[in-house]
């Protein structure tokens, strides 16, 4: 059959695309502690809880019950993670601690997302 572009063309193009993705993945996922300390926990797209991770002194855990199941969330200074869950795949548990990165912790069966946002520098609000 015809070959519109050579194998080498594709090899170079795909390798470049791959490198680009790998680089942006690394940039997005490394912990950037300090800047992103406001943890937003949302279920079905609605924020149910916000935690200022920089204002946490002692580690604690709590249970979050969604209509789809329960997740045990652990919080420590600067970090948050899903410690336990009753979902079938437990990807959320295996994701581990979230400490400043852009990628959120996700529990798809429970429609749960824990993401970090800017702010959370210990202040409740600022008036200017």
């Amino acid at each position: 059959m015809k070959q519109k572009y050579s194998n080498r063309f594709w090899a170079v193009l795909l390798a470049a695309a791959f490198a680009l993705c790998a680089l942006s993945a690394w940039l997005v996922m490394r912990p950037a502690a300090g800047r992103r300390a406001l943890a937003r926990i949302s279920v079905d797209g609605e924020v149910v809880r916000e935690i200022d991770l920089s204002a946490v002194d002692e580690a604690y855990r709590f249970e979050l019950c969604t209509p789809y199941g329960a997740n045990t969330i652990a919080v420590r200074p600067g970090g948050i993670c899903v410690e336990d869950a009753d979902c079938p795949d437990r990807v959320c548990v295996r994701t581990g601690w979230l400490e400043g990165g852009l990628t959120p912790i996700v529990c798809l069966p429970h429609r749960l997302v824990i993401a970090l946002a800017e702010g959370g520098d210990g202040l409740d609000a600022t008036a200017g």
Partner: protein, 164 residues
């Protein structure tokens, strides 16, 4: 003629299901949601190039439905269907500019399209656009997996020749 085609497609569907089931037994590679080898796509890629859109779509639909009924949840069906559909569309489009020896290229790009579809559905379902942050990692891993499955599909196409 119809019987032969039906039988062939059914056998390929069974092969895809077996690959899917075997892969499900393997321990997860990373904690990141959605990263998998996607071995069943070897069949999808092969079918898209050697058999054509109609057969490939039929095999894919049958495989996704059966796999969900056997070992999945209705929620997982959405992600499988979206990913598979995006992958197939990408590969059928690429068929115009790729030769039979470049099936591996289609597989790499098809895998990227697959992850794109899955993230799109996840964002729509959970309502958090922040999930897009996972896209670079998923696409990078997907491309690597797509390369492997693409090479396998390439070998299959070479062995089976024109008769499919």
């Amino acid at each position: 003629m119809r019987t032969r085609r039906l039988t062939r497609d059914a056998m390929l569907t069974a092969a895809a299901l077996i690959l899917y089931a075997v892969e499900a037994q393997l321990p997860p590679l990373t904690p990141v949601p959605g990263i998998k080898a996607g071995l069943a796509n070897i069949i999808t890629v092969y079918a898209a190039f050697a058999l054509g859109g109609a057969d490939a779509a039929g095999i894919l639909a049958a495989r996704v439905l059966l796999a969900t009924m056997i070992a999945g949840s209705p929620a997982a069906l959405m992600y499988s269907a979206a990913g598979g559909a995006m992958c197939l569309l990408a590969m059928l489009g690429l068929r115009r500019i790729l030769s039979r020896d470049q099936i591996w290229v289609a597989s790499v790009l098809g895998a990227a399209a697959h992850n794109l579809g899955q993230v799109a559905v996840a964002v729509a379902v959970t309502g958090t656009p922040g999930l897009i942050a996972y896209l670079p990692l998923l696409i990078a891993a997907g491309m690597a997996a797509g390369l492997f499955t693409g090479l396998c599909a390439q070998l299959v196409a070479r062995r089976l020749g024109k008769r499919g």
